[in-house]
């Protein structure tokens, strides 16, 4: 037996290819949406991986610096370092803000790290160019995605920094490139007030009779002028220790909230990007419905155009099953063309997206199955129309 569907597709290949390409672009968009979601999840994991931490110590009762504001005194890390099983501990600050270079500004996540101690958690890790931060002021390591280059002078708040190193794939959970600067600078940047505000605050403090004694006033003013907070302490534990076992005493005795890698991942993926992933889920559903409608419409139209031939086929003794199979195969054929076009299109345009798009083979496979299922469902209408055709119509009046 020859393939009626195949012959029909070859005969009307123009129609199939054009519809297939249109459908393919839709499928490409769908695959890309899934890729955007995977990219967000992957960015979150890379963020955690690159931090080099086993535990995140954060302000009590908060979800940590990636999810909400968290502040700890910047000397907390010393006492953490003393705890059992802790190998290294380092202060870190995170602040998403605009970073300027000349006329242009870039949205970036500015990370404050302790300068000059490579191997500490929170450090930029692998550099694609340049060197790590060695001075305690005005040096920066930027991610390639920021568009900055070695030697660039960039401005964060009021201060200028020189880019001394470049990283790759160091982005926030929102996809913004990271820019590492020395911790002190970052602390200042977080709470930096303009000069007028400082003058006004000093005047107000001085006017407060409670700080009447001269020494007291100086001390208070000094404390107001600096920022002794960080957003989190990143902890590496000694090899062979169970993260949960190290975290538990810190929670109990230091009255701090501590997250393991596992828990941090759940916060990032389960809470931070949950809304975005629902948003993408909605898109996927709508795209699936639109694709189904297109396939259904095209297959239905093609079938209606063949009513006469179908009547003849029935009259000469073709089984209903064979006719239904022919329509079904055409629908699946259309889906196959669409899928191939979609996969190629998605692979082609993914690198041009501003955020990381991760096209997973598993998603492609699931997408393929979805396409086939949608095509099968979409052909139901056409199959019903074909089965209703009366072979007597072929004989006519």
């Amino acid at each position: 037996m020859i393939s009626l569907a195949g012959r029909d597709i070859l005969h009307a290949w123009g129609k199939f290819v054009f519809t297939g390409v249109g459908l393919g672009l839709l499928i490409g968009v769908t695959l890309t949406m899934a890729g955007v979601y995977r990219g967000m999840v992957d960015d979150a994991k890379v963020l955690l991986d690159n931090s080099g931490a086993d535990l995140w110590v954060v302000q009590q009762g908060t979800l940590g610096p990636y999810a909400e504001s968290s502040s700890l005194y910047d000397d907390t890390w010393r006492s953490i370092l003393g705890a059992a099983g802790v190998l290294r501990a380092a202060n870190v600050t995170y602040l998403t803000m605009q970073v300027r270079r000349g006329e242009r500004d870039v949205r970036a996540m500015v990370v404050g790290i302790v300068a000059g101690e490579p191997g500490q958690p929170g450090q930029p890790g692998f550099l694609v160019a340049g060197r790590h931060i060695t001075r305690s002021h005005y040096e920066a390591v930027a991610d390639l995605a920021s568009g900055f280059q070695l030697g660039d002078r960039i401005q964060i708040r009021r201060n200028h920094y020189t880019v001394v190193g470049l990283t790759r794939r160091m982005v926030s959970s929102g996809g913004d490139p990271m820019i590492f600067i020395p911790l002190r600078d970052a602390q200042a940047a977080q709470f930096l007030k303009d000069n007028d505000a400082i003058v006004r605050q000093r005047a107000r403090t001085a006017a407060n009779p409670a700080f009447g004694a001269p020494n007291v006033l100086d001390a208070v003013l000094a404390s107001q002028g600096s920022n002794p907070y960080v957003n989190a302490v990143l902890v590496q534990i000694e090899p062979g220790h169970d993260p949960e076992a190290v975290a538990e005493p810190l929670r109990r005795w230091k009255r701090l909230t501590v997250y393991t890698r596992q828990q941090m991942e759940e916060i990032l993926i389960g809470k931070l990007i949950a809304t975005s992933s629902k948003q993408i889920g909605m898109f996927l559903v709508i795209l699936a419905i639109v694709s189904a409608a297109i396939v259904a419409f095209i297959i239905y139209t093609l079938t209606l155009g063949k009513i006469r031939e179908i009547a003849v086929l029935k009259l000469i003794g073709t089984r209903n099953r064979t006719i239904a199979g022919m329509i079904l195969q055409q629908a699946i054929g259309l889906g196959l063309i669409g899928f191939v076009v979609g996969k190629i299109a998605a692979t082609f345009w993914a690198p041009f997206f501003p955020k990381y798009v991760l096209l997973e083979t598993g998603d492609a496979l699931r997408g393929f199955i979805a396409v086939v299922v949608i095509c099968i469902l979409a052909s139901v209408l056409a199959i019903r129309a074909a089965l209703k055709v009366d072979p007597a119509e072929a004989i006519g009046g």
């Binding site: 009626l4 029909d8 031939e309 003794g317």
Partner: protein
């Protein structure tokens, strides 16, 4: 196998009523007809007289209301009883030729013909061999690989006849097969049908209005107002 074909077509007291009650139409009111194997008979009658209805009953696409029909040795309808597998009956016992050829546009000439034996479960190569044999006999073998849209009207009609013959059915039903053809081609089609009828012992009924071909029949059934009466034709030589 040949035994089965001996009886040709026999129709006795066939009635067909469309609809019910006040709006019922009695399209056939007792049709008697007999066509021997190897014979080509004409069926003529005015518009609305029931020609197409009779072909549809014989072609097993509508069910008669009463009477009896026999194809070959097989009773296919007997007063309310109808044979079970109509699809297989049509596939194996009846060839159809229509006014328009109705070839399948996405199959080439060979496969349009070979499709029928394929549907009956024969292998592709065997089916194509049979198809080519017939295309040869009908003088269209040189167009075997062409698509239907690339053929002339007469060539298409000959392919359609090959398709009707390829499963060697005991019966061929032709509804106005020569309407779109000029008289030379129309006569050629009738000549072919006569040859095939003799070669394969096929009983053929040709419904027609066509003055050009009516004189060629040896026997003609006139149908008027749902009833048939038989008449000898001129049996004009086709040579």
């Amino acid at each position: 196998m040949a035994e089965r074909h001996i009886q040709g077509i026999r129709i006795e007291g066939l009635r067909k009523r469309y609809g019910e009650g006040d709006t019922a139409v009695d399209a056939l009111k007792g049709v008697d007809m007999q066509v021997a194997p190897g014979e080509v008979v004409g069926l003529i009658g005015p518009s609305g007289s029931g020609k197409s209805t009779l072909l549809k009953c014989l072609g097993a696409v509508i069910e008669p209301s009463a009477g009896r029909m026999t194809l070959g040795q097989e009773v296919i309808y007997d007063d309310g009883w109808q044979i079970g597998d109509l699809r297989a009956l049509r596939r194996d016992n009846i060839g159809f030729v229509f006014q328009a050829p109705y070839l399948i546009p996405f199959l080439d000439v060979t496969d349009n013909v070979a499709l029928l034996p394929m549907l009956a479960g024969r292998s592709n190569s065997e089916s194509r061999r049979r198809a080519l044999e017939l295309l040869e006999a009908l003088d269209v073998a040189h167009r075997a690989r062409a698509m239907p849209s690339e053929l002339s009207g007469g060539e298409q009609q000959r392919v359609a006849i090959a398709r009707a013959l390829v499963n060697r059915p005991p019966v061929i039903l032709a509804d106005e097969p020569t309407a779109p053809l000029d008289s030379e081609r129309a006569l050629a089609v009738i000549r072919i049908l006569n040859q095939m009828a003799q070669q394969f012992s096929t009983a053929i009924i040709v419904v027609t209005h066509d003055e050009k071909i009516i004189p060629t029949f040896r026997r003609i059934y006139h149908i008027r107002d749902g009833r048939t009466h038989e008449e000898a034709g001129e049996a004009k030589s086709l040579e």
